[in-house]
Amino acid sequence: MTTDQLHRAIEAVWRIESAKLVAALARRTRDVGVAEDLAQDALVAAMEQWPRSGVPDRPGAWLLAAARRRGIDAIRRDRVLDRKRREIADRLAADSAPPDVDAALDDEVGDDLLRLIFTACHPALSADARAALTLRLLGGLTTDEIARAFLAPEPTIAQRIVRAKKTLAEKAVPFEVPRGDELATRLASVLEVVYLVFNEGYAATAGDDWMRPALCEEALRLGRILAELTPAEPEVHGLVALMEIQASRLRARTAADGSPILLLDQDRARWDHLLIRRGLAALARAEALGGPRGPYVLQAAIAACHARARAPEATDWPEIARLYGELARAVPSAVVELNRAMAVAMAEGPAAGLAILDALADEPALAGYPYLPSARGDLLAKLGRPAEAAPMFRRAAELTRNARERSWLLGRARACDDAR
């Protein structure tokens, strides 16, 4: 094996083992920051030794043993030991758990991973900090990769991660899976981070660094892992379903010149039917668990209506309108109501949709939101009222910050002028 091949092999092992390793060390040290440092030390040790010895048969066990050894040595070498560090060293040394992680109970590894996810996504941290820390600890991504993915300078991300770990230590955030009432809110915090990562990737455009679209894959991987760790949580399966179905359209949603293609105009043959099938299966899993449907399950159900339709005309708009209604009741939001209006317009005609939009006219949450006037314009145009539609499109064009969208809206306004 050449050095280059070996480095890539170590990277692959790291990809598979790092989260489990950090999680196992965090349980022992009760400090995520210390755990990550020790895991990095183990990686350095592997880089030094594996070129001579080859990749061991059980690389995970090797890394854990190396991390423990280095941790104990390093901490003990430090002469001015504070109490906390002495405790950490003692816990690592006294650890009688098998050095063989592969042989350790699967449940235990899973529990550690889940603790790590909940800790990295702790609400004491900002959403950005949670996302960076999660990609670092759970995805095994380097600071450089995270920085490129979020279009941020590397020092910014590095600092964000350092601060996040410090906050967790200062607030003495326990390394545990929340229970009871707390679980729901903490899980929401985790799902928010996973979906944020996904949307960053989804928002990537042609010509961006490849790390940006790779965020979709990272989020999907995190979601799939989470779904196996918390199989009884319908919202987790709902989020996975939503991401699988949205990812299924990645190939179909931009034209060759990079301009966006709207859902109803996409070539459905280019959708990824493997991901659709997986998304529908995840949705079925969520729905089989019963109970009231949460926002992710409902959004996945809406996405599934589109995914099931072989042609745009076959879309079940009444069902989509009903699901938006349910979503608006679960999480009252003017944007959801706007989407419901458009679904109702498709199901019952533009007049019915316009009635809902009229009720939203003075909604403060939608002031400055370009899609409200553009939606009104669209329905007015369909109702044969171009004189009223044109100023709506012009208003939307003023509000949008996207140049491509602006020219498209102005085009529609001119078409309305011509139709008068």
Partner: protein, 143 residues
């Protein structure tokens, strides 16, 4: 990236011999590990080639249906997985952890799946056609 992991056939698999309970359990555990790691997208086992057919496309366009079984056992496949991984190396590392899928010597092959980026700047005819269609559609809406 996606890879297809192709499990090659053996004399036993071609004879329809099913793996024993121990191997079934080991493969089950490995599959579970793949699912838990978010790597497994899909996977299926295939019946022996005696239940398969081939359709041969001659250069002149003539199609001939050929019934199995087929010779060259080692080149036949008896199952596949689709994995989502970050690199070929990650796929290799996972495959190193896989139990031998047969009770005898065999080979398993990893092949990367083409992704849109692999086509680079070059338009596929399909993409060009799609673009033309969109242009025509846009023109129709404008007109």
């Amino acid at each position: 990236m996606r890879v297809m992991v192709i499990i090659k056939a053996t004399k036993d698999s071609e004879a329809g011999v099913l793996p024993d309970t121990r191997l079934m359990k080991e493969m089950g555990d490995f599959n579970e590990e793949l699912v838990k790691a978010g790597v497994m997208l899909d996977g299926e086992g295939l019946h022996p080639s005696s239940r398969g057919v081939r359709v041969r496309f001659a250069a002149d366009g003539k199609r001939t249906v050929i019934d199995g079984p087929f010779a060259e056992t080692k080149e036949l496949i008896c199952g596949f997985w689709l994995w989502q991984v970050k690199s070929m190396e990650e796929a290799i590392e996972w495959l190193r952890r896989c139990p031998n899928p047969h009770l005898e010597e065999c080979e398993v092959e990893i092949r990367p799946v083409y992704e849109a980026e692999d086509f680079g700047e070059a338009f596929t005819p399909e993409m060009r056609e799609q673009e033309d269609r969109i242009r025509a559609e846009t023109a129709r809406l404008k007109g």
